[in-house]
Each structure stands twice: as structure tokens, then as C-alpha cells.
């Protein structure tokens, strides 16, 4: 395959955008609120499946189903957070990953979710839009890659989310979040409802997971449970540490770096089977996680002064 294969890079760009939106939610949680959400893939699963099922089984229009999916995922976030956010940080992490695995097993085994066959046929409206958009893009010379409209849409969404989160972060609300991250007892002593702020942070992360899940669903054309295993969440954390903690801009950099790293491996002409090349990608991501956590825990662009990671 040529390094200049446009379709390939457009596809890689779509994946980077999806990881970016997904990891923005994690950044809000761990980087700005100090809560270790390990269930982000579970929230994405809830959102994507809700949307898919509403379109396929209930005949809802895609946009309406997507809006409903966000509401359901946020509700799931609140439901998970209500009992568990009072727990110690590491126990909270275990509860969220257990939640995410329960969600995955339920969708894998429950009849309403299509089991291992998954959900298919929710994207007709998007295909129609994509065909229309491709024609428009062709008139300005951007029509060669079939996924080009998706690439533009996912990156527009990513930048929009980034701007909104950035605005929230410089607001008084964002400053309270940072205060909670630094010292939640002090924030509580100032009369801030620490628990409510954490719950809001988790709810927004679940909404971002659903937006990422929407684009993932449009990218893969059918939903099946194993797409949403905890590895997705772990890749999200790899994005954070590659980019840097406590910065939304760094998430974008991290997502691009991660996808360049994993997708770019295809161009090395290694004498490996497809399975081995796939394994090698995970090994490299694992080594990146270990190496950066040991030697540059704030991430490539993160600042040690902004978020203290060493006790």
C-alpha cells in the first residue's frame, strides 16, 4: 500500500477524531475533576446501541435517536455515579469498569440487541447524506475519498466539543472542578457541592462518549459488543498520556499521535501475518503507556505544574 493512499489516511483521520471526542470526556474526568472513569467504553456502548435500536426497531429518525441516545447515556452516567462517586478513587475505577463489562455482556446476550450479530441498518439516512455531501465536495475537488464527509463531520464535532469544553473550563464551573481535583475537602469547605460537580463531570463525559459512539457507528456500519470492550477506554487513556493531562488541546494531539503510531505501522514492510501486525500495535501502545507513565507522567504536552501526578 502506498503511503499516499488518500482513502487510508481519511479512514485513519476518522478514527483519530473518534478517539479524540471519546478522550475529551476522559480528560474532563481525570484531567480536570480528578475522577478515574474506567467505564467510558460502557457509556459509548449504551449510547451507540440506544441510537441503533431506536432507528432499526422503533423507526425513529437518526437525528432524534441520536439526541435520545445522549439523554440515555447521561442518565446511565448519573446512575453509575450516584452510588459510586463517594467511593475511594481506585474503587470508583473498578465499579466503572465492572459497569462497562456488564453493559457489554448484556448487549451481547440480550435478544433486543441482536446478540453477537449486533445491530445493523441504522445508517441509511447517513449514507444518503454522505452521497449528497460527496457530490458537493467533488465540485471543490474533495470528492475522491468516500469517507471524506465523515472525516469533516467528525473533526467539526471534535473541534466544537473542544471549544465548548474550553469555555466551560474557564468559567466559574470549571474552576470549581479544578479545585475539586486539587483538594476536594477544601472545595467542600468553601461550600461547593463536590458530589454534584463530579456527577456533572461524569454525565458530560457520557454524552461525549455517545457522540464518539455515533461516529463510530457511522464508520463501521454495524454495532457489535466486542467493539466496546475496556481496551477502548484504555486506548483513550493512551491518547491522554500521549497528548498530556489537564489540557483539551493535548487530547487532539494525542489522538493524532496514537493513530499515526498504530496505523502508520502498516507501512513498515514487516514479515508478519495480519494477526501478528495487529498484536504488535497493542504491544506498542502498551509500551508507550508504560514508558510515558514512568518517565513523563504528565504526558508529552502536559505541564507538571498544572496537574501534580507525583505524590
Amino acid at each position: 500500500m502506498s503511503v499516499f493512499d488518500l482513502d487510508f489516511w481519511v479512514g485513519a483521520g476518522v478514527i483519530a477524531g473518534i478517539y479524540g471526542i471519546f478522550a475529551l470526556g476522559l480528560q474532563l474526568n481525570i484531567g480536570f475533576t480528578g475522577i478515574m472513569n474506567l467505564g467510558q467504553a460502557g457509556f459509548m456502548c449504551v449510547g451507540a446501541y440506544t441510537m441503533g435500536i431506536l432507528v432499526v426497531d422503533a423507526g425513529w429518525p437518526l437525528a432524534l435517536a441520536f439526541a435520545a441516545a445522549i439523554i440515555v447515556a447521561v442518565a446511565a452516567g448519573v446512575l453509575v455515579g450516584l452510588p459510586s462517586l463517594r467511593l475511594r478513587a481506585d474503587y470508583f475505577g473498578i465499579v466503572t469498569i465492572a459497569f462497562s463489562e456488564i453493559v457489554r455482556y448484556v448487549f451481547q446476550n440480550a435478544a433486543f440487541a441482536g446478540g453477537n450479530q449486533g445491530v445493523i441498518g441504522y445508517d441509511a439516512e447517513w449514507r444518503a447524506f454522505q452521497a449528497w455531501a460527496s457530490q458537493r465536495l467533488a465540485t471543490i475537488g474533495l470528492g475522491e475519498a468516500t469517507q471524506m464527509p465523515l472525516l469533516i463531520a467528525v473533526w467539526a464535532a471534535l473541534l466544537l466539543c473542544l471549544v465548548v469544553l474550553q469555555a466551560l473550563q474557564v468559567s466559574p464551573w470549571g474552576r470549581v472542578l479544578k479545585a475539586i481535583r486539587e483538594d476536594e475537602d477544601a472545595a467542600a469547605a468553601l461550600g461547593k457541592n463536590v458530589f454534584a460537580f463530579k456527577l456533572q463531570s461524569l454525565g458530560i463525559a457520557a454524552a461525549l462518549a455517545t457522540i464518539a459512539g455515533f461516529f463510530l457507528a457511522m464508520n463501521v456500519t454495524y454495532l457489535y459488543p466486542s467493539e466496546f470492550d475496556p481496551s477502548f477506554t484504555f486506548f483513550g487513556y493512551a491518547v491522554l498520556i500521549l497528548g498530556g493531562f489537564a489540557s483539551y488541546g493535548a487530547v487532539v494531539v494525542g489522538a493524532v499521535l496514537l493513530c499515526t503510531l498504530t496505523e502508520g505501522l502498516r507501512f513498515l514492510d514487516l514479515p508478519l501475518s495480519a494477526g501478528q501486525a495487529g498484536s504488535l500495535r497493542f504491544i506498542i501502545v502498551g509500551l508507550v503507556l508504560i514508558g510515558l507513565s514512568m518517565f513523563r507522567p504528565q504526558g508529552l504536552l502536559g505541564s507538571d505544574a498544572e496537574m501534580q501526578l507525583r505524590a
Binding site: I30, M36, P83, S84, R86, L87, R88, A89, D90, Y91, G93, I94, V95, I97, A98, F99, E101, I102, Y105, V106, Q108, N109, E184, S231, F234, Y237, I241, G275, Q276, S279, L280, F282, I283, V285, G286, L287, V288, L289, I290, L292, S293, M294, P297, L309, R310, A311
Partner: protein, 336 residues
């Protein structure tokens, strides 16, 4: 002491008041399990309950042995070791690899147990020790652990492939005990599992190293001022954790008959459940927790489909963390 009143002789001797809290947790647990067996026997018949109990005991072996290392590492080093499940996988695949060189299954397993223990020891030397010195945060430890988990699992997959692989043993012959059936290999797993659990329990209770490990997992600062060489004890914990994880992995592969490189990660949450049930840092608790999770998952098949077994484990984990985060035997601080 002169002229003082000896209060002990003056105070009226009274039998100590018996209260509900004085009954040991282990007795409670046994009572609850027996009550569960009786209730389920009424609902589903004693034969079905007996059969699932037997299956549950087989599973309890690998859950208990897998959870001991996890709980000791968590209790001592505050590492939620997401790579622990992959040590089980490593043990099972090393057994296959060594078996391919011509060694029979169980001797190969013994070599694999030793190699995995040394591997866990080496990881402490290369990664965890430097991180302890750098006084790292929970987040950093977590990130290193998931990175390590990926590296171990996908290195195994790189060499062995991702396909399901049989253990290459006779998995068909079975033995009948009255109305109950048990695969011959599973019976062997049950025996080895029970023997290993007994050995671990006795070693923890009576050997010097066992006492040191328990002291360290219970309270690091207190263990340090009591003169325990914590550095050596921590290395020992990693050796024990690696060896028991490998043994658990071998028992799992023999009990199920086939494995793939993801199995360790998939049962990791069940191991967490066992550790949390027993109280984080409590090695005996982890053994008991493994028993509970093994039985609970098999008993659940009496009421819901087999495919829901993992969900039962995760649900117990969440419920335990929310309502009884100190586990059935207590210990640890769970709220922030």
C-alpha cells in the same frame, strides 16, 4: 503497686455478653452458603444443586489462587494490577509452550509456575520498584498496569495466535460419584486446587514469610517499624503472586479444556470480586472470596443461562463495593 485495689478480683465475674457481632465472619459465611444450598435444593432439587456446587468448587480453585496475589499486591503496594489476569494467561501458555518441547502437562505446568513467578519478580525489579521510589500516583500505577497487561497479552497472542487452543489433554473421560458427574481432568483440578489453597493458607499462617507478608499487606508502616525487611517481603509477594497466578491459569485451562489469550483479562474482574469480597489485602479473605464467586457463578446457572455467569460476578463486585466495601472480613478504608 502497693495499697491499690486489685480491680480484677473485686469486680464481679460475669460471663462475657454474647452478641451477634462476636460470631466470626467465617461462621456467618458458612451459614449463608449452607442456607443457600438448602433453599436452592427446595427450588431446583438437590441433584442439580449438588452438581453446580461441585462445578463451583472446581472454579473456586482458580478464582481463589488468582485472587490471593491480586489482593496482596493491592494491599501492600496500592496497585490495582490490571496485568494480573494476564499472568494467568502467561502461566497457561508457558505450559503449552514447554509441553510442545516434549514435557508432559503437569511437569510443564510446574516449570511454567516457576518461570511466571520469576517474571513477576523481574517486573518488580524493572518497573514497580523504580515507581515506588518515585512516589507515583494511583493514576500512574494504573496506566503502567494496563500498559503491562497489553504488552503481556499481545506478546502471547503475537507468538501463539489469537485462536482458541485446546489443552491437549483427555477432556472427555469423566467420573461418576452417585448422581454427580465430573470430568476426570476437572476432578484433578479440584484436588490440586484444594491442596494448593490449603498449602497457601498454612504457609500464610505458620511460616515466617507468611506472617511477614500478611503484616505488610495489612499495614505497611506498622510492618516496617516492627523490623520487617519490607523490600524483601515485597519481592516475595511478587514471587507468590506470579506463581499462584500461573497455577490458577493452568487450573483454569485444564478445567475449561481450552483457552485463548484473552481469558486472563476476562476473569480478572472475577478475581477483583473475590479480592473485594474477602477484603482488600486479606489473603485468607481472597481464598474465601474465590470460593464464594466460584459457587455463586455456577449456582446462577440454576436460574439464568450460562452466558450470564460473568455478569453475576460483576454484579456481586459492584454491590460489594457499594454496600460492604471492606469485604466480609473487614479491613481497609473504602470511602474517600
Amino acid at each position: 503497686m502497693t495499697g491499690g485495689i486489685d480491680t480484677a478480683s473485686v469486680a464481679p465475674t460475669r460471663a462475657p455478653e454474647r452478641r451477634l457481632e462476636d460470631i466470626p465472619a467465617a461462621a456467618w459465611l458458612a451459614a449463608v452458603l449452607i442456607a443457600a444450598v438448602l433453599l436452592m435444593s427446595l427450588a431446583r432439587g438437590p441433584v442439580a444443586v449438588g452438581q453446580t456446587t461441585l462445578n463451583g468448587l472446581v472454579a473456586a480453585g482458580y478464582f481463589a489462587l488468582g485472587a490471593v496475589g491480586l489482593t496482596l499486591v493491592f494491599g501492600t503496594l496500592r496497585i490495582i494490577n490490571f496485568a494480573h489476569g494476564d499472568l494467568l494467561t502467561l502461566g497457561a501458555y508457558l505450559t503449552f509452550g514447554i509441553g510442545a518441547l516434549g514435557l508432559p502437562f503437569w511437569p510443564a505446568a510446574a516449570v511454567a509456575v516457576v518461570l511466571t513467578a520469576l517474571f513477576a519478580y523481574a517486573l518488580d525489579w524493572i518497573i514497580w520498584e523504580p515507581m515506588r521510589r518515585a512516589r507515583t500516583s494511583t493514576l500512574q500505577l494504573f496506566l503502567v498496569a494496563i500498559g503491562l497487561a497489553m504488552v503481556i497479552r499481545y506478546t502471547i497472542q503475537f507468538f501463539a495466535g489469537s485462536q482458541v487452543r485446546g489443552v491437549g489433554q483427555d477432556v472427555l473421560s469423566s467420573i461418576n460419584i452417585g448422581p454427580f458427574h465430573l470430568g476426570a481432568l476437572q476432578a484433578l483440578v479440584l484436588v490440586v486446587g484444594v491442596a494448593a489453597i490449603a498449602a497457601v493458607g498454612l504457609a500464610l499462617a505458620f511460616t515466617r514469610f507468611g506472617k511477614q507478608i500478611r503484616a505488610l499487606a495489612d499495614n505497611v508502616a506498622l510492618a516496617e517499624v516492627s523490623g520487617i525487611d519490607t523490600r524483601r517481603a515485597v519481592r516475595l509477594i511478587w514471587l507468590v503472586a506470579g506463581a499462584l497466578a500461573a497455577l490458577a491459569g493452568v487450573l483454569y485451562s485444564a478445567a475449561v479444556g481450552s483457552v485463548n489469550p484473552n481469558f486472563g483479562f476476562f476473569i480478572l474482574l472475577s478475581l477483583f470480586t473475590a479480592a473485594v469480597l474477602g477484603g482488600i489485602g486479606n489473603a485468607y479473605g481472597a481464598l474465601a472470596g474465590g470460593l464464594v464467586i466460584g459457587l455463586a457463578q455456577e449456582w446462577s446457572t440454576l436460574f439464568v443461562g450460562t452466558r450470564w455467569k460473568p455478569v453475576v460476578g460483576f454484579a456481586i463486585l459492584i454491590i460489594m463495593l457499594l454496600v460492604m466495601p471492606r469485604g466480609i472480613f473487614g479491613g481497609g478504608r473504602a470511602r474517600s
